[in-house]
Symmetry: C2
Subunit: 426 residues, 2 copies
């Protein structure tokens, strides 16, 4: 990917990064790159994610997908990193004729509504839980399976599983002889999009998984020990440097509808990897041009605590704006929708620069498999680099355990919750 | 609505509001309420939004909707406040058998894809622009109209317009004798959900618009000069007081899939109304329980700059989790999906409290028309109150004009953008 950090430097932005601070930071980038390289070489926990472009078995994934390729509906049963990668890839690249749903919440109103709406006999279900113990995923799958039974559908013929070596989901798959893909070892869910976790959904949606992986491999080959030579590291280092100077919010603003879910994937990657020990930049998910009519007022005139990451493809399909009988809109008619969107991108970038809000521009060649594979890899690498700079444990998420355990105890009828003060207004 | 600010007080949270500070703030709430009441009495710009429950003409809206009630697909052509209200109401309450799309972006890839997918002959199109000049909306409508022409559909029979007294969209509607609903005077788009801007879409989607308005009227009747007597003001005052103490981010976390778009509506309301003059809380859109597996790590262990607003309905439909042949998940099976979701809500609230992160709990009776009408009204009132406390011009959005003008000039072939520094890494 191509990034431009010019408008994040202190000549334009406040907060902004002074060029000499960027030079000094580059020494730390070189050191972090050594650490990352060593982690990759040793296939260490987390760092193993950056090896996926060469360790993932594309043939096994496409073969598993082929077995349910006749499906007209695909449901990913997973949550967090076990769903967002698949949703990101299918939303960005999937065939229009596949009806796709990520069943990544346990709202009974939503689950029953979805099951009423789809034809289970022509659906494929991909159940994903690396631990095999995720409460939401197991509960949802039991509900889906029951609905398939009720509809007279042989659920064992429509279900594909991705999980680890043991746990309830592995046991269930073994009992019923379901096709199982192994979750990659040492790769946290939010770093697992380019693996058996999310690629099967992409394959079922008609995406060229080989191209996705090739794009990721391009990103891997481009890793280098200086932010001046590596766009992924340049992004991670700039975001970190801005956060140190007060930009505690990172608004991800893609100018492409099909990358809207990418912003959500990014939000998990950034929040869960870096949000610990009292530090971490808060991701805000946005969409251009839509959010110019929602968030831009705040970005431009609110507190100076934001980096705005502006992402766009260099090429778009054509869609002419017809001539019309209307006065005062000659600047629009006879043009193209893509030109309008790109003009808004440029104008918004300039308007943020004019008010001193730091932006980073990210450009990918197109919203195609190779570019999206590269995009995901590069942001993962950027996040790993940022984690090294913050000095946090990038690959764990210890703060969510308390709530998980408490929820389980509540459901067992125990009373694990401490008293808290109430102050109710009705 | 019912709110609990107990876990936002300084006995639990850091930052937290000291009870005596809340008492002092209540004097300012009383003063602000007087200002708001005067604004409502005078139907002043912006404040007029809070009069919508008695000024909106429900019969005219339902009559206009009835004319296209046979549609199986509805497309709202609008952007920002002219789309988000409709999307919020339809996503929360609309019939499952209506295929709904908010065409609120000008991405050619997305627009052409949508138009390829839907049957225009059985679609209704609601075009919404209060000014009648919004570039994205006019461009998209011209593309949609052209597609209808190409498909041999009489677009004038399928199109409903909401706009102001003049401008290109009014002219177009007059020329072709289209049914037009007047946009409410003195009501900015983000405060216009409970009007001709969004209610027609709700009506076409089968929502009882009278109940929505009745819910809003409940909220209006509940406005009172103390935060102890008015849940809307209690929310706005608490959010403001926390922001003053460092909680610059407000994460809206509904535990209901159908309120996911409400979080987006809230994000516009909060950002565009309060984000000015260097102040304003940054809204973060989230969804429970899904974001426990994405954002919770950051909320709980990252910087202490967040208020988490936890929203849920008091009642949910049933959806049993079937018994299963799996070991170790006895706590789940035989239970209900809603009980699981509610246990996660309680556990997450407790886990945030345990680490001192301020939360406000908001409860509505159900996700039904009356409750949703009340919810939207109450958050609008909360926002107006917060605007009075911040001392900002709640109802304007001046910072977006620069970019709008620059985009227009770019499309006219002019060169309005100042040079900015570039620093490119590939």
């Amino acid at each position: 990917m191509r990034i431009d950090i010019g408008a994040a430097l202190d000549a334009t932005a406040t907060p902004g990064v002074p060029p000499d601070a960027l030079d000094r930071l580059d020494d730390r980038v070189a050191h972090a790159h050594d650490r990352i390289t060593a982690g990759m070489d040793g296939d260490e926990f987390g760092y193993a994610a950056l090896n996926l472009p060469r360790t993932v078995d594309v043939d096994a994934i496409t073969a598993a997908a082929d077995a349910v390729a006749d499906a007209d509906t695909l449901v990913t049963v997973g949550i967090g990193g076990s769903a967002l990668g698949a949703a990101t890839l299918v939303d960005a690249l999937g065939d229009d004729d596949l009806d796709y749903h990520a069943l990544d919440n346990v709202d009974p109103a939503h689950v029953t509504r979805l099951l009423d709406r789809i034809d289970l006999s022509t659906s494929a279900v991909h159940v994903v839980s690396r631990s095999g113990t995720t409460a939401e995923t197991l509960a949802n799958f039991l509900v889906v399976r029951d609905a398939m039974d009720d509809a007279g559908v042989d659920w064992t013929a429509r279900t594909l599983v991705t999980t680890g070596d043991d746990g309830p989901l592995r046991a269930l798959a073994d009992t019923h002889d379901l096709p199982v893909l192994d979750a990659p070892r040492g790769v946290p869910g939010r770093f697992a999009a380019l693996s058996t976790v999310a690629l099967p959904a992409a394959a079922i949606a008609g995406v060229d998984v080989g191209e996705l992986v090739a794009g990721a491999a391009d990103g891997r080959a481009a890793l280098a020990g200086s932010l001046e030579d590596c766009s992924a590291y340049a992004y991670g280092a700039t975001a970190y440097a801005l956060d140190q100077r007060g930009a505690g919010v990172n608004a991800m603003l893609p100018y492409a509808e099909r990358l809207e879910t990418f912003a959500e994937w990014f939000a998990q990657l950034w929040a869960e990897s870096l949000g610990k020990d009292g530090v971490g930049q808060t991701p805000a998910r946005a969409l251009g041009a839509t959010d110019q009519h929602s968030q831009l007022q705040l970005y431009r005139a609110g507190p100076r605590d934001k980096l705005v990451t502006m992402l766009r493809p260099a090429s778009r399909p054509d869609c002419a704006i017809p001539e019309a009988e209307l006065a005062d809109i000659d600047y629009l008619t006879g043009g193209d929708l893509g030109a309008l969107l790109d003009a808004e991108f440029e104008a918004t970038a300039a308007s943020l620069a004019a008010s001193g809000v730091p932006t980073v521009r990210v450009e990918v060649p197109a919203v195609d498999a190779r570019s999206v594979g590269r995009l995901l890899f590069d942001f993962e690498a950027a996040c790993v680099l940022a984690g090294e700079l913050y000095g946090v444990e990038t690959f764990t998420q210890p703060a969510v355990e308390w709530g998980k355990n408490a929820a389980r105890e509540l459901l067992r009828g125990e009373d694990p919750l401490p008293e808290t003060e109430t102050h109710i207004v009705e």
